[in-house]
Amino acid sequence: MMQRRPIVGLALVAAATGMAVAARLLVVRTLDGSLLMGWPGPTLGQFRVDAVLVACSAGAALGASGAILQTLLRNPLASPFVLGVTSGAGAGVAFASLAAAMAGIAAPTGAALGVPALAGALAALGCVLLLSRRHGALDPVTLILGGVIVGAIASAGSTVAESLLPPERRGLLTGWLFGRIPDVPDAGALAACAAAALALTGLGTAWGNRLDGAALSDDEARSIGIALGPMRTAMFIGCGVATAATVALCGPIAFVGLLAPHCARALVGARNRLLVPGAALAGAGLLTAADALRQWIDVGGGRLPLGAVTAVFGGVAFLVLLRRTAAGWMS
């Protein structure tokens, strides 16, 4: 029974995610406020399928990244945001928009948006990794500090670029910086994000036992034969690339990478072999549920920004989880 419990927990996570997907596919509120249930037909249905694919890919990438980072950094508050990757991607898009405005050409959209986002994300990740390298290895504490610093600089850069944009061009950037599920996702960006999510989840699952060892102190991990350095480097890069792909697809999304691992941990336990896929599933479910909520709630301004929904609901849920699990989150 004790061995079956995590599997049951994983099944529960999968079931919850399935419910979120079904809700997003079948329920929508129209602009006049009425709720419509059922399949809308192929044309409108394609938008919903695309939205689910985007949310599941991005959520899974964020969830898996969050679980791995929390284990590697031995910090329950770690998330892809800590690495500054999201802010770096935002700065990349902001400066690309500014450059387009200065050149008098249209702002980048769709696939073109992914290029500066990825460049900014990878530049931020590179800076953070460069900062945190000590004697050939990555120092977890310096990594967090470096991520915060680089993230702050990148955010300041985004603000400067945004403030210099002419007013008619600010809306697009502001909307993107809120986080969003695109109506028609760029196929390349979606494929890249889905591949990154699958690869990272697979890697985290395959290296589950080594990740468990990484949760111990460096000396303890070394004593049981786990070399943390190369694994940390590979995992940090994997998390960075997966997060960058997510940001290129959806813009910055708050809290999913932080909350999903905690949801999964409560149901499947702290063993990474199941925790990483559980967090990926939970992330997919959370982001899909947030997108579904966004379709149902009307506070007067049309559809809410996705990033605002994840921040508000994710923040409250995280506080509840934190209160319940603070004493033994890795026990």
Binding site: A106, L131, G157, G302, R303
Partner: protein, 302 residues
């Protein structure tokens, strides 16, 4: 004031160097941070330094405008030479940038010694009022959403300018209103619901009570969006609305899914429809008639 600006520069540099020494940051990050800090501090320090060369320094009325729409309206009323302070988005290149409505530089505004401070908001700004009182200026606040807001704001604004010695402001206001009335008196041919978007990714619409809605309805048109304000939509929302035509105001490529929403799609680069100013009153109807012509041409296959 120039020396204050210089001290601020030095302080930032010294603090940054000490941080860099302790943390031993790599040169690439240091260069990036220095560039950002210098850009920000130089922008901050520019206003006081340039105050002495501000336009309108010798005239009776010195205007600081914290709203691009108000700046444009002041210029159309003949007060362009009196604008000494503006936001980064105002088209008054000779005036000094003093920040934005939410993030205004009070010291820079005080240094300009304005007589009028104009802003668009629904709330007061006590700190700005205090600065204004100390320099003998008065703060005037409007909120422009619909056409009536702009029209009703024209007369008091013109009176303020006229009282400050800007001759012809009141006549210019009357002329603008007359031209506006003349422009909207010509009805549009498109009487089926039309959707007006100012963004396509995500789709964001001009809803009821907005100035585009007011203009279009005044000319006999029907707005497809009954929701008030500027609602954010999804592609599914747009398709469900089934408008007779989709009008996208602005530049950029149109998404292919718009074809599922309506067979008629019109894109118009009309800055006058992106800002609730006096220019919108006069040029907005002209742009909308251009839109109407395009819709008619698309329907007839032209």
């Amino acid at each position: 004031m120039v020396s204050v600006s210089g001290i601020r520069h030095s302080g930032v540099r010294v603090r940054f160097r000490s941080i860099r020494t302790v943390a031993r940051m790599p040169s690439i990050l240091a260069s990036l941070a220095t560039a950002v800090l210098l850009a920000v501090t130089s922008a901050c320090g520019r206003a006081p330094a340039e105050a002495a060369h501000a336009p309108g320094a010798g005239s009776a009325t010195h205007i600081v405008s914290l709203s691009p729409a108000l700046t444009r309206t002041v210029c159309m009323l003949g007060g362009q030479g009196a604008v000494v302070g503006r936001t980064p988005w105002c088209e008054a290149p000779d005036a000094v940038v003093v920040g934005t409505l939410e993030d205004r530089d009070l010291e820079a505004i005080a240094a300009l010694r304005p007589t009028l401070i104009l802003r668009q908001s629904r709330t007061a700004d006590p700190a700005l009022e205090t600065v204004a009182a100390s320099t003998g200026a008065t703060v005037h606040t409007w909120h422009f959403d619909g056409v009536d807001d702009v029209r009703s704001g024209l007369d008091p604004l013109a009176k303020l300018l006229a009282a400050g010695g800007i001759a012809g402001a009141e006549a210019a206001a009357r002329d603008l209103v007359a031209r506006h009335q003349q422009a909207i008196a010509v009805p549009v041919r498109s009487t089926l619901p039309v959707l007006f978007l100012f963004s396509v990714d995500p789709p964001m619409a001009f809803g009821s009570g907005t100035y585009v809605d007011d203009l279009w309805r005044a000319m006999g048109g029907v707005n497809a969006v009954g929701k008030a304000g500027y609602p954010a939509l999804t592609a599914e929302d747009v398709i469900r609305l089934a408008p007779s035509a989709v009008v996208v105001i602005g530049r950029g490529s149109l998404p292919s899914w718009l074809g599922s929403a309506s067979p008629v799609q019109v894109q118009v680069d009309a800055p006058d429809l992106l800002e609730p100013s006096a220019r919108m009153l006069v040029d907005g109807p002209v742009s909308l008639h251009r839109v109407d012509d395009s819709i008619a041409a698309a329907r007839s296959g032209g």
